[in-house]
Amino acid sequence: MLSISDLTVKFGGLTALSGVHIELNPGEVVGLIGPNGAGKTTLFNALTGFAPVESGKLSLDGKDHAWPKNHQLVDLGIARTLQGVGLFPDLTVLENVMVGGQKFAKGSVLRAALGLDGSNEKYLEEKASLALEKVYASSLGDKRADSLPYPVTKRVAIARALMSDPKILLLDEPAGGLGSQDIDWMNGLIHNLKSETSILLVEHHMDVVMNVCDRIYVLNFGELIAEGTPAEVRENPAVIAAYLGAEAAK
């Protein structure tokens, strides 16, 4: 479904990613882990048009593809959440989610000015309500985004990403900043989402990664140091060394 090979990203003289490969298959949840500065978010940024790709090959559904610009992602079936959540503070929750469905927005400036896009607006509202139901936030549609507690903003950001019906969902630290109860809830949500989209997630919470991921890639200093099932990765000496130091791996 998604295949990245030999990906190298440089910022000036600094190599942020070097020869990295990733595979994501339909219905899979794949984790991308590594210590701070390992290059996890850089990989997301390269894939979503926010970081310059020095070299590397991207293939989607078996076909080679140019690295997309960020506004092309939804048309390729890719949606992304951000570490910083990034809701629009002065829009309501429903409107925030509707923004994610702009690929379904139809009509022209003239039609909008003449008020002829009502049915399309209604369609987006209904779709946004459904997306909010999926993240158990359907009662919050009329609230302003800046009135929500932090854990709820994470749910709304996921609902917004789901609005484009993505085949591939990139979750950037979905459990970051959450308490244990909300982390349990997030685990359940990711399990539920597996039936409708493949998920690539960057996460620091190891209990989330080990709980929800089918496979894991481990980055360190911009290089891939391990890959495998959660059980395999957990036992990998290179991974233990990266996280705990070389002494612990012995």
């Binding site: 951000l82 409107e95 702009q102 896009d117």
Partner: protein, 298 residues
């Protein structure tokens, strides 16, 4: 009667300020840029209307041309100048101020351009509507049919654009793109295109202001400059982000001016704008309607 006359004078001029404030709010709301070139763009579109009127001898026919011209000029300004500037200065300490400074430069450029083409003479862009006040009994009130069309124009511009922002996906995309362009791009919004549409809307609103207001005075490269200041103050009083606020701000400013002029004198008129602005901001720092309202509030 003097009180009512003063109030009507204030409402008439307030509607004029409101039109310019609406144009400024539309650009701010769509792109987070205070567009000081708005007066220049409006005067250029008014000259276009003036030329069409000279050809057709019909003021009403000239207005749609002025509006389309205003939208096209604004789209050109954003598409060719502002877009390139934003790309070159999108990071660093100048990123937010550079486009605003550019609009000041553009105002001077447009003024010079219109002066070169049409000269600096005071031209008449005349409306078939009377500039004389309505008669009530034996008393002529200071409110003419042209004043009425200005008030209607301000309310119409406010209504149309408020509805677009409130009820349409286009309005939602405009709001989203102005606040968080990168996230909007991730959602598939063509941010550059949406910004240009926002500028075109503002250009159209500014053109309405120029075409309706100019018949009450005269047409010259600088004739809307003072209106820019009043419109900006009105927009800030209204909350800068609210179309209804822009109209209320304009009317408040107009009425405030009229009463100051009537009961205090002409010497304080210009400074009165800023005194009113400071008083309103002291009482409501976000402006009259600049509270946390969201897209659903126009």
């Amino acid at each position: 009667m003097l009180f009512i006359d003063t109030l009507l004078i204030g409402l008439s001029s307030g509607a004029i300020y409101a039109l310019m404030a609406l144009a400024l709010v539309l650009v701010w709301r769509s792109t987070r840029v205070v567009n000081f070139a708005q007066a220049g763009q409006a005067i250029l579109s008014t000259y276009l209307g003036y030329e069409v009127m000279n050809m057709t001898h019909n003021y009403w026919v000239s207005i749609p041309f002025a509006i389309l011209g205003g939208a096209a000029i604004a789209a050109f300004v954003d598409g060719v100048i502002m877009r390139a500037l934003v790309k070159r200065s999108h990071k660093g300490s100048v990123s937010e101020i550079a486009p605003v400074i550019a609009t000041l430069g553009l105002l001077g450029l447009i003024r010079s351009l219109t002066g070169m083409i049409w000269g600096n003479a005071y031209l008449q862009y005349t409306s078939p509507l009377s500039g004389k006040g309505y008669m009530i009994g034996q008393h002529t009130i200071p409110f003419s049919p042209q004043n009425l069309i200005i008030v209607i124009g301000a309310l119409l511009v406010m209504g149309v654009f408020a509805a677009i922002f409130k009820f349409t996906n286009l309005g939602l995309a405009l709001r989203a793109a102005s606040f968080q362009p990168e996230i909007s791009r991730l959602a598939g919004i063509r941010v550059d295109r949406i910004r240009t549409i926002g500028w075109a809307f503002a250009g159209a609103a500014g053109a309405v202001a120029g075409a309706l207001v100019t018949p009450t005075t005269y047409l010259s490269p600088n004739s809307l400059d003072l209106l820019l200041v009043s419109g900006f103050v009105a927009a800030v009083i209204g909350g800068l982000d609210s179309l209804i606020g822009a109209v209320l701000g304009g009317l408040l400013l107009g009425v405030g001016f009229a009463f100051i002029l009537q009961y205090i004198g002409t010497s304080v008129t210009f400074s009165a704008a800023f005194i009113i602005l400071i008083l309103v901001l002291f009482m409501r720092p976000r402006g009259i309607l600049g509270s946390k309202g969201g897209r659903r509030d126009a």
